[in-house]
């Protein structure tokens, strides 16, 4: 179970480039739940994910996973419990190293790494078993460098690597945004398959409302560094893309009113 409490983060504080990316985000993820995070550009959805992953430390607030406070843990230490897939398909794999070596690294996620052999015959059989469900004919190419594969194949492998040891929390950061529609659909199917099979607690950032509607059991809608809406259970199941669009429109109008009211008051009183 992941509990995020009053998370706050301001970038470039005290300068003209000051950005209040997170203004007090709180939510709790139940075990085995699949949550989609939606939001406009600059709403803080990716910042939220990076904060949970440990890319930076929050100014305020706590991040607790299964009763362990990891707010001040560095990124590599959180990897013990957290698996990650990045937006950029090139970020999740080491290009000059073989598929087998990448998988071997993933099977040691968060564990001590000693002087044992990175790749053995027995491990290779396991790698074959791992890549089989991808249907990408990678079984015979385990020794070729991963950099030679397409973005979609690399993203699928990253997903496989991130989920290999059944992490307590799986973070997906718009992991299909940089792929062409066909490949994206494949990676989404794979995501659905792995998450359901291993019952992983998943937090997925997306900007595709269709994905958010189709997948998972909960939607967090972010706006201006806060959770604006939180849909669960039956509400979430009944939600359609049009409903989400209407909500975004509503948020946009609210912003516009804020601005026009401010102008009105300024004209009148200042």
């Amino acid at each position: 179970m992941l509990s995020v409490t009053n998370l706050q983060k301001t970038f470039n504080a005290g300068t003209v480039n000051e950005v209040q990316a997170l203004r007090g985000v709180s939510f709790t993820l139940e075990d085995g739940g699949f949550t989609c995070v939606l939001g406009t550009n600059g709403s803080g959805k990716s910042t939220l994910l990076n904060a949970v992953a440990g890319a930076f430390f929050p100014d305020k607030g706590t991040i607790v996973l299964d009763g362990v406070d990891m707010t001040l843990w560095p990124e590599y230490k959180r990897a013990r419990y957290v698996g990650r897939v990045f937006q950029n398909p090139l970020s999740g794999t080491a290009p000059d190293m073989s598929i087998a070596e990448n998988l071997s690294l993933a099977l040691k996620r968060g564990k001590p790494r000693g002087l044992g052999r990175g790749i053995s015959g027995k491990l290779k059989e396991e790698f074959c078993r791992m890549v089989k469900p991808l249907n990408m004919d990678l079984e015979d190419r385990l020794d070729s460098p991963i950099g030679k594969l397409s973005g979609g194949q690399r993203q699928a492998l990253t997903l496989l690597m991130a989920s290999a040891l059944k992490p307590k929390l799986l973070l997906l950061d718009e992991h299909t945004a940089a792929l062409d529609p066909g490949t994206a659909a494949k990676v989404i199917d794979l995501t659905q398959m792995i998450v359901t099979r291993d019952r992983l607690t998943t937090l997925m950032v997306t900007h595709s409302m269709q994905q958010a509607v189709n997948m998972g059991d909960r939607i967090l809608m972010m706006h201006q560094g806060r959770v604006a809406y939180d849909f669960k259970g039956e509400y979430k199941q009944r939600l359609k893309v049009n409903d989400l669009l209407a909500l975004f429109e509503e948020l946009r109008r609210k912003d516009a009113i804020d601005l026009s009211v401010a102008t009105l008051l300024t004209n009148k009183y200042v």
């Binding site: 290009p95 071997s104 040691k108 044992g116």
Partner: protein, 312 residues
Amino acid sequence: MSILITSVIIGLILSLLALGIFISFKVFDFPDITVEGSFTLGAAFSAALIVKGVDPLLAGFIAFGGGMAAGALTGFIHTQFRINPLLSGILVMTALYSVNLHIMGRSNLPMPGSDTIFSRLESFWETVVEPNHKMAVLGWSVDSKDLLILLVSLLAVSLTGILLRWFFRTHIGTAMRATGDNAQMIRALGVNTKTMIVLGIALANGFVALSGAVLAQYQGFADVQMGIGMMVWGLASVIIGQAVVGESGVGYLIFGTILGSVLFRLLVAIALRLGMNPNDLKIITALFVFAALILPVLLKRRKGFFKRKDYA
């Protein structure tokens, strides 16, 4: 012929330096100039200890440890204080100059008649054959003791290469290579990349110092200037090696680096023999590495140029 044998021996000794540069530059993508100081550090430790009567092999081990400490310091400065890799190396290299002078007590420390690895080999060989025993190799008469040294160096370097290949294929070695290849990815898999960099640069400078220690024993002296230009020298070896074996597995690259070091030393020996001014050695090495670095970029640009023409 004997000049060729000597060149190959020195090439093999310097291949330990090249392996160090391979680790920092190729594996970690870390332009580590500490080597110019740690190479001398190894030589200084080796010479100063041997003059005091310490076992030459033990002196080599101590030199390796000293080099590791220097490398670890560079890695530490870079990772903990976020100082640029080159600048971290320059700081440690500059400081090492004073350290080396203190260790040696003066700028040039000869060790005439001292007990070194090579004097031991020679005295061992004299118990087997009579002094100045000659052998015919391809029609040339050469000192058989030089051949013995060549053989032993080749064995020792091969063993080091095999050991290094084994290490880089273990779990921790694979994680090190991944740190240089994609730090973001390996952090997300739970590896402390800072520790990896400190360890890796330490290991690299251990090899560099060992190379300096063995070279000092071979030539019979240590000099505070002997590290100058060694980084580019090592780079040249790594680049030649890669050109020979191609971009392939870590084992091939290690083999290529050793081969590159020997080939480069031979090239230099031949050029000097053909009348090249020894003073020009460093500028030619630098030009060579420059050419090797820009050539792939130029070739790519040419390809791009042709492509654009195709579409037009």
